[in-house]
Structures are given as C-alpha cells and as structure tokens.
Assembly symmetry: D2
Homo-oligomer: 350 residues x 4
C-alpha cells in the first residue's frame, strides 16, 4: 500500500524537532502537512519562528485541539514535552490514528521504571504495550505494522547502534560498559533559560546529569533485550558548544580474542544493507560534522589489545537520526514509502 | 534544448568550492560528473577529502591534463586559484567547451585593472571579452547564450544584489557608498596556514585587506554599469569566526525623499520573480544562518530619516550563492534546465 | 589623597558587568567590597552564580536596601538596568556618596533626548547636570573632582576613541560618518531569553536595532561636543557569535589631503601618554581577541586615497573598557589611585 | 633561599605554551626573561607573533644557540617539540642549569617505553634518571631539590589529579579504568596544517588517536606508582571546538561500599591544602570555562550506586595547569618562591 499522499499533523511544532520535521517533510513527495500546533505561538505563521523555512508554504500554528485535529490528519508526529505527550498520544491512537511520539513517554516498557526516572506515574500502561520502539535498524520487522511508534531518544540511538553488532554476537561483556556521550545544545530544546544562553555555553564543556540522565533506563532496556540479560551501564552525557551533533564513545571488555579487522568485518556485515549506517574504514573515526543535517550514523571502532577492550565511536545528528529524521524513517516504513524518502541529504561541510 | 544529461568536469575540486559543487551537482538530475581534478590529491578517492560525500559515487581525483579532459566533459567548472585559471579556461573555451570560471580571472573587463589589483598581467584579453559576468539577477538575458561565465565573487554578489534596485532607480548617491562585509572563514579556501588555524580565528573578529581587497574593482565595475557613471566605494571586509555565511551592510545617502515602506516596495517589485532573492518584511533583517547551505540571498533595509540615508543588509552563503550554487544556477540557464534545479534546499537551522 | 582602602558596594552585581567588577576589584589593593546586591539572588553566595570567582572571598548577595547600603560603602558601582538606576543613583549621590553608574541613565545631557530614545521621562534632570561622562581619555580633567560618573556605553567607547583625534584636529567631515560595529553577546546581559540562547546565536551574524540603537544619541552628543557642531551618524550594530569583544569600523570623508603615515602620527601623538590606548603600527588592524579581558583599546587606520576617506577600526572588550574596567579606571581617578591599578592584565590568547 | 630575581630563557617560545610562559612570567616579580628562542621567527619582536603581549617589554626572538644561552640565563623553560628537546635539555642540565622541560622527552622513566611510543630512541637515559615528574600535588617533596623537571602532559595532569585520592586510598579497581578526555585545539600547538584549520574544527567533535595516544604510557606509569602495581587504562582523547580547556571523565569500579558524600570527604581531605585544586560541592561538576587562563583544577565526582562505580570529572586549562602554569608552579618551588606567585589569576567569564 503506497498512498499518493498522507495528511500529517505535527503537535508541538515550534521547537527544534518540530522545525526539523517541517524541513524534512517539506521535501517528501507523499507527505502533506495539514496542521501544526503550538500553544504559545498559535496564530503565527510558521516562518515567523523559522525564517529559514521561507518559501515552504504558508502554515500557521494552531492550538492543540484534539477533536479538531482528528479530522485533519492521518498520521501525527508528537513533539510535545515528556509528560505532556502521554494523554494526547493515547487519545489520537485510540481514535485510530497513526502516531509517532518523539517524547520519551512510550519508550519504557516498565511503568515503574517510567515513574522512577520521570518522577510521575504513567496513566496509560496498556497503550505502552502497543508502542514499538522505533529504532529501525534493530526493530525493522515490527515497524510496518505498528500504529504507535516510540521514537528513540538521541543518546540511545547513537549508543545502541554502536553496540548492537558486538552485543548480538556476544563479543563483549555487557556488565562493564562505559559510555561517554557529548551532544550539541539543540538537544535541550528551544528554551528561554539562562543556563542555555549563548554566553553560558560558548567556549564551555561540561558533564551533566551524571549518573542520573533519563536516557539511561532506555539504553539499559534495549541493551538487555539485545543481550538477553539485565545490564546496567555507566552513562555520562556532556554538553558540547555546537548546535547539533552527538558523539558517543563506548568502551567494553572483549569476551573473545578478536582482531580489529575481524570486528570491523562483523560490523560491516551487520550493517551492510542499512542505508543510514556508515561503518568507516579501518583507523577512521566519525566526526559530528559529517552527519550534521542528515539521517546518517557514522561508526568507527578500535580493538585495544593492551586492555582487551573494544572502543566504539558513533556520530549522529541529535535532531535528525536522533529525533525528527528517524521519525520520518519510521513513517516511511509505516506507510509503505521508500525508507530513505526525504532523508537522502548529505551534510553541509564545512 | 534540454539535454537528458550533461557531462561535467570540475577542475580544482579538492577545495571548499569544489566540495560544494560535488554536493550540489550530486542532486542534479541532468548532471553527470565525469572528472574531478586536483594536483595534490590525484589518485585519491573524493571521499578521502570529503567524508561527508560518502555514498555519492566513487569519483577519484586526477591531475589536470587538458587534452584528456577535452574528451571527458562538455561543461567545465573551474575552481582553480586566481592566475592559475587563466590559461586553462582559455584553452577549454577555445576548444568549444562551455566554461564557468569560479576564479576572478575573467571578471574584470579592463586588463589594466586586473594587472593593478592582481599584480600580474592577463594573457588573454580577447577571451575576457567573451566572458559574461554571471550575476543572474542582473545579467539574466546574457547567460543562456554564453559560453564562458565569470562567476561573481562572494562579496560582490552580496553587495550588488543589495544595491541593484536602489541604484537602478536612481534613489541613492553612488559617490558616497560605504560597505562593511563580514565573511565566514571558508571564503579563504582550504588552506594550511597558521593565520587560518582554528586557534587564530575562534573568538576573534577583525577587518582585513582594508582599502585593498581585490573584490573592490569588481564591485565598482558592476556598480558603474548599473549607475551609468564611474563610482568608487569604501569597502571593508571582516573575518567572522564561522565556517560559512556573509553579511554585507551598505550605507548610502538618499537622493530623494522616500519612506522605508516605499523603498521596500521598490525592492519587492524588483525581485518579485526572483527565486533566490528574499526581501524580508518591514523591520526584519537577515541572519547568515537562515541562508547557510542555500542559494538564497536575504535582504533587509531601513531608511534613516535623521541622516537621509539608506541602510541595506544582505546575507548569502559565501560558498553557495557566493560561489558554487551561483555557478550551478548559471549552468542551469546555459543548458536550458530549470533555474532552480538542485538548488532548492533550505538551511539547516539551528 | 590616597586612602588606604575604600569601601565599595556593587548594586546589580549578578549580571556580567557585576561579575567583571568583582573580578577586577578582587585584584585592587585599595578596594574592599562590602556589599553586592541582587534581588533575584539575594541570600546566595556570589560563587553560586560565578563559580570562576571561587577563592575570592565569601560575599553573599543582598537585596538593594538603600538605607542599609548608605552605611556600608563609600563608593557605589551601579549595574542596574536602564531606568531602574535613575532613582537609586540619585538617592545615593544626594546622600554624599560617590557613584559610578554603568547604566545609560545619566549619560544624555538632554532629558528630552533621554525620553525620546528610552521611552520614559527622566525624573532627576538636575542630577544629570552633576554627572560627568566618564570617557577618561576625553574627559580626564573632570573626573578626579567628580562625584557622579556616567560610565560610557560600550559602543560609544569604541567609536569615540576611534574618532577623537581626527575630529579634534578637524581632519574629517563629521556630517557623513558611517559606523558599523559588532559586539559579543555578553553586551546584552545575562538573560533568560530564547533570542539569546546558544542555538539562536551560534553560527549566526546579524544587524540589529538598525537606525534605532540607543547608543546613537550618546555617540552624537559626544561627537557634537568634540566637533563643535551638531552631528548625526549612521550607526549599525551587529551581534557576533562570541562572548566578548567589540569591533567598530568607522568611515568618514577626509577634509584635507593627508597621508596614512601622517594620520597615524596624529593618532600616536594624541594617545602617546594613554596607558590603555594602543595605536597599532602601519598596516595592522585590531582583533577583538587581543583585548579580551583587558581595559585596552586597540586602534588601526587606513587612508583610502581613491575615495578620499579615513577608515578607523577599534577593538575593546565590551565588558571591560566598554563597562566594568572603564568604571574602575574612573574610580581610580576619582579616588586618587594609580589610573591603571587592577587594570594591567593582558589578554588570554588563544 | 629567595633570590631577588632569576634570569630565565624560554627555548621554543613562539608557540602557544611559549606565549603563555611570557604572559605568566610577565607578572612574576622575581623572574626576568633574558632570552626567547625561535628558529623560524629569529629577529622578530615577540609582539609580532603575540600582539596581545604589547606593552610587556621589547623581547626579540633569537636562534637557539646553546653556548650563547648558557651565559644568559639560570633557568630554562624548554618548549621544543618532542625529540628536539632531548639534546638541548641534556646539554643545559649537564652545564649546571636548572631546566623545566615541557616536552615529553624526560617523562617516561623507561627508555624502551619511550622508544615504543615515540618511535625513536632516547639518547640520554642517564639524564632521565635525574628528572623529576613535575606534578606538584603528587611529587611536591621532590621538586624543591630538583634540577630537571619533566613537566607533565596536559591529559595526564587532568587525569592523575582526578584519580590520585581514590587510588592512593585503594578505593577503586585500577584494572578497569576508562578515561574519556576532550581538549581544546591549542593542545595541538600553533600549526600550519589543514587538519587544524578553522573550517575543519569549528562545529566538529571527534575522537582521535584512539588506543594510541602518547600520553597513555605516561598516565599508566604514574598510576602504577600510585597504585603499587601495573595498570593499563582505556584512554580516548577527543578534540573540542574551543581554544583552551580540557575535561576528563573517568570511570572506575569501586572496591568498597562508599557513599558519594564519603568519597567527597576523602577528596576534600586530600586536597585541602592545595592552592590549585578545587573540589566542587556535592552535585556540581566542572566546566572548562571556569578554569580557562588559570592554574586551577576543578574536580567533581559521583558514586553510581547502581553500577558500583566512581565517576570523576576534572577540568584544567591545557595551556596553564596542563603546561605553562604548572611549569611556573614548578619553578616557584625549585627557586624558593611562593608556590602561587604569578598564578593567582581567575578565569575571564563569560
């Protein structure tokens, strides 16, 4: 089934992931955006908030009125804050709409874990069960038939894609994984906070949410599924003085004697058919600039023979493969479009 | 005449304008790149120097052998350094090839001016006469029939597009124009020089080539044609700590009593049909980030009633509308393609 | 009179100029900070807001209670927002305190101009008459005896220091001055606004407040005094993606035939004894990075013989010579300390 | 013994560490710089290469003539490239001079390790034995009597200071330490290489020298001494798009049940008297901007109870505590000056 055109609404469209959805879907031959919501900017043309979208149509923000939206669209991208997304997603989904939720609200399968990490209860545990974790490269089979996608977090995307082949093949010890990631500031959203003001970030670099980042249980949940046993990871995120881009450096003890070349072969074989995964050649490591604005994940690795460890480095654009691009990738599969439709752009370098 | 496909060679393809030509032409349905030259990188795959181009084909740099190239391509983009371009352009053009020269070698109509500003003689003054100055919005009529295009410099592009309507309508005094521009560092090319190393540029801002920048005679030549009389301008370029983007702020005395609204109307009328010129609404001024990676020129203006002056502000991407994008725009017109083919991308923001 | 120690209060100390006053005065052998005020951060240690000040004492913010403050300090630095400063300055000054006001409230001599540009009336026009405009290099004689200093704005500082010698000597036409300035973001203060958030500024460059910036009447007032006649200028400020630093590029028609070398001699002679003015050698122009964190103003110039114009370029740190450093320079003169006390640091480069 | 003044030569003074030595020593009351060497810039005034040093004297670079230098100075800072330093250090030291070597040439005690990691032999293994590893906080007792200091590398400084208390107290498993560091670009020196040009670094972030960085054996050597047994670490450095600053994030399994609060107490006790180590309060982590331009090391830590691991984060300025500042700290102890002399500046923030 490949419909000529699908009607799309974006709820919470005035932030950075909303802007990216507008940019990407604007190039999609089968997508027609019929509604964009923003409480604060209701009534304003989209180009007031996103001048770079000039020439891409005359959309105007409207408030999120669920009943009104039901008539307007077939598929909904939800870019609302965590917590705020729960109820709207449940409503739209239970009314038969396809929903891709970019918030964290439907990612954790265990409502207790949700409550523990997000500090409030989940009101729709039954709906959680319907949600498919939309990391395409891992859950590809489940997505075409899904009606509710929990679009992965940016950190988990970059980390799980790096670890997947080695974990699936049983090559590393999943009980001693150490992950350090660094993200561009857009990952924090479009916010009026002194903490994220230019002068507080420029020329700075810092770790944050040490031992407490909410993407930790998401990483551990998916890693445990891959590994077939419970895992806990040391995950330390950092804030980079750039707009976009995320680099994750993962270290894990090797379980087997394997050379760097053999490990690269494992990765190449695993990701051979993946249109968005780029395993770099021996000795080359990713740079966030090469994936900026793209849905690509670049991967590099090294086997440290002195310490019997594997070092993995992955780069994604936190707003594209880490959010809106991956959401469109999920839409493409859900709707029977080409997986790469609207997602073939390469980075603007330098 | 709209050929199915045209064979294209890029001479001097290992620099930033070369990379941009590869990125843009990679999306062009009628362009097939058949040769890319680089003396220093001959034999290397293009993706060694441009990892972001991964997946866009398997081109390998070759040395610039003119005889060999003659058989390989129908249209040549010349991205060689000033001076080095002269002879190759002349050879290819005199052998019946279409040539778009991104260097400055064929921009100045007066060989004496060339010698004065570039410090060496021009060996092919007759060929200069065949060259069309490829600022499409001003010379649109001459480009379809042209066989040699002198692709405009980045500063002149941003400045001439800002001044064109006011000068053509006789609204400003062209003898007292003051121009301040600021450019991203990629305008200097891909260079191994301490002066352009990260630590020497980051967190810096400086004027350079004060009263002596080589784009000055190019600006004055075209401005004099527009105005119908000789003009000299005060042009001061500055170096911005960003990769891309160019902002020009132009100030000129008004010759007539005209309101800001009327002036905006003049500009809107002039550029109404231009696909790449975006006259911003009243009170809004351009930001380089909104045009980065695009062929767009954003324009804002103010009438200063206290000083009876016009302030114009324009933004372009120095590598796209200021170089490679404009070159492809010229190619599109020369070859009968849609003018906007491969040039419709919008900026990646933030 | 050189007291051993002077007691100092900083009102509005939680912003960037407040932080700079704390940093600079922390090195001053004759200054003892006895009170720092902030409504929003009252009760918090200074190092909570300024972790870089760790080890520089245990100051705690207090609310601005004027009666309480009267007993605590002899000299007050006022770093309150424009408008908010008026009344507090008047109270402290009329109670016999020395006051250095970093706001704009006492800079404009004409209350009508204040009302026109700042959109509210000035309640203390008599106190304005007591204020000395604290641009030391121009008003040096008036400062030792002053009790109220209107500390100059950052843009006027960088611009007036550039123009002073040429205007005083009658070398340029003051009716056609065009000024383009670019400032680091800290000039906007420490603000929770989306407009100033990292992702909205990084990789951007834009003009703002075109024809309407409030420093314009301040520049024109002082320029008119220098020139001995009314002047109006075209002043266009721009926002640079750096934390600190301000570069002003000024263009004016020459009134006399004068060579670049002669003009440099005029400037060197004028500023020969000035400890903070650095006239660069022939052909060298300032870079903001060389003055960052310092009270220095670097100046370069060129005579454009083709256009019979003078191009001046000046660089200051908007928070130091453009605000807090200049305020301490004024304090040093008011209190009989060495003019350069606590102000001799050079820039951290790179 | 506190001499009035010591005569100092800086060999290899035209790079960034040389510039920092000039900046710092320029404030030192007991230091007189009598010679600065640079082969490439011999004959040029220091301010040609370092305009920010204007006003700090009239030094001129000279070539490195060892015999000439012997008469000129009592103490030598050697900021030559690795390899180039060996012979000059040996000559000056064997002629009775005090030498502080900022290169890596005398850091590794084992000449075989030097050969393995630096790819050439060490010609003066006997002199290595005389060198003291100048990490003051760890080797304080040995420095006053030393005549040859091997000034630590920037990465080892930031990492060893973070690990020292936990390792000394036997609180962590030293066989599974994972270290991720990120450095500003100045760590690579002042180089004319395309790789370090602005456009190749800005907006980028990448790992480099994965498993092969030359600071690895230095870290392991000192860690093994601390721990009393051989250790090997996983160390992955990254390149940050900032000029200065280094953040190291270290993860190690805990050997004992210890709370975060108890761990902080251990660190506070260890570093209580250290003038340059700043253990941050519970829940606060360092940011490179707070130590920029200073000799300070900021430390934060977290105990991860879910993974039974310790996370340490340290920040230093790679050019100051990671190079030139630490070198002056060593000089102060060697010469009987106050340890903090010339090193009390705080950071310029923002």
């Amino acid at each position: 089934m490949n419909p000529e055109e699908i009607r799309i609404a974006i709820c919470g469209a005035s932030g950075y992931t909303g802007g990216e959805l507008l940019r990407i879907l604007g190039k999609h031959p089968h997508a027609r955006i019929t509604a964009v919501t923003s409480e604060r900017s209701a009534g304003k043309p989209v180009t007031d908030l996103f001048p770079h979208l000039h020439g891409r149509g005359a959309l105007v923000f409207e408030p999120l009125d669920k009943q009104v939206l039901l008539d307007k669209a077939d598929l909904f991208f939800m870019a609302l804050p965590h917590g705020a997304s729960q109820e709207a997603v449940n409503f739209l989904h239970s009314n038969g709409k396809k929903v891709i939720d970019l918030s964290a609200d439907y990612r954790l399968k265990n409502p207790d874990a949700y409550r523990r990490w997000y500090k409030h209860a989940h009101a729709f545990p039954e709906t959680i069960k319907r949600a498919v974790y939309g990391l395409v490269e891992i859950n590809r089979d489940k997505i075409p038939g899904a009606t509710l996608i929990a679009n992965p977090g940016c950190y988990p995307t970059s980390i799980l894609l790096a670890l997947y082949p080695a974990v699936k093949r049983g090559l590393i010890d999943t009980t001693h994984i150490v992950i350090n990631s660094a993200s561009g500031v857009s990952g924090a959203g479009r916010k009026a906070e002194t903490y994220y003001s230019f002068c507080e970030i420029h020329d700075s670099f810092r770790a944050y949410a040490v031992t407490s980042h909410r993407h930790t249980p998401e990483i551990e949940q998916e890693l445990s599924i891959m590994a077939g046993c419970d895992t806990a990871v040391n995950f330390t995120p950092h804030l980079l003085p750039v707009n976009r881009g995320m680099l994750s450096t993962v270290c894990a003890p090797l379980l087997k004697n394997i050379s760097q070349q053999e490990m690269l072969d494992v990765y190449r074989e695993f990701y051979d058919k993946e249109p968005f995964i780029n395993v770099l050649r021996d000795g080359v490591f990713p740079d966030i600039r090469n994936v900026r604005g793209t849905n690509r994940c670049d991967l590099g690795l090294a086997v440290n023979e002195r310490t019997k460890s594997l070092i993995l480095v992955s780069a994604v654009d936190n707003l594209v493969k880490g959010a809106s691009g991956q959401a469109v990738q999920n839409m493409n599969l859900m709707c029977g479009f080409e997986e790469t439709e609207a997602l073939t752009d390469i980075a603007i370098v330098p």
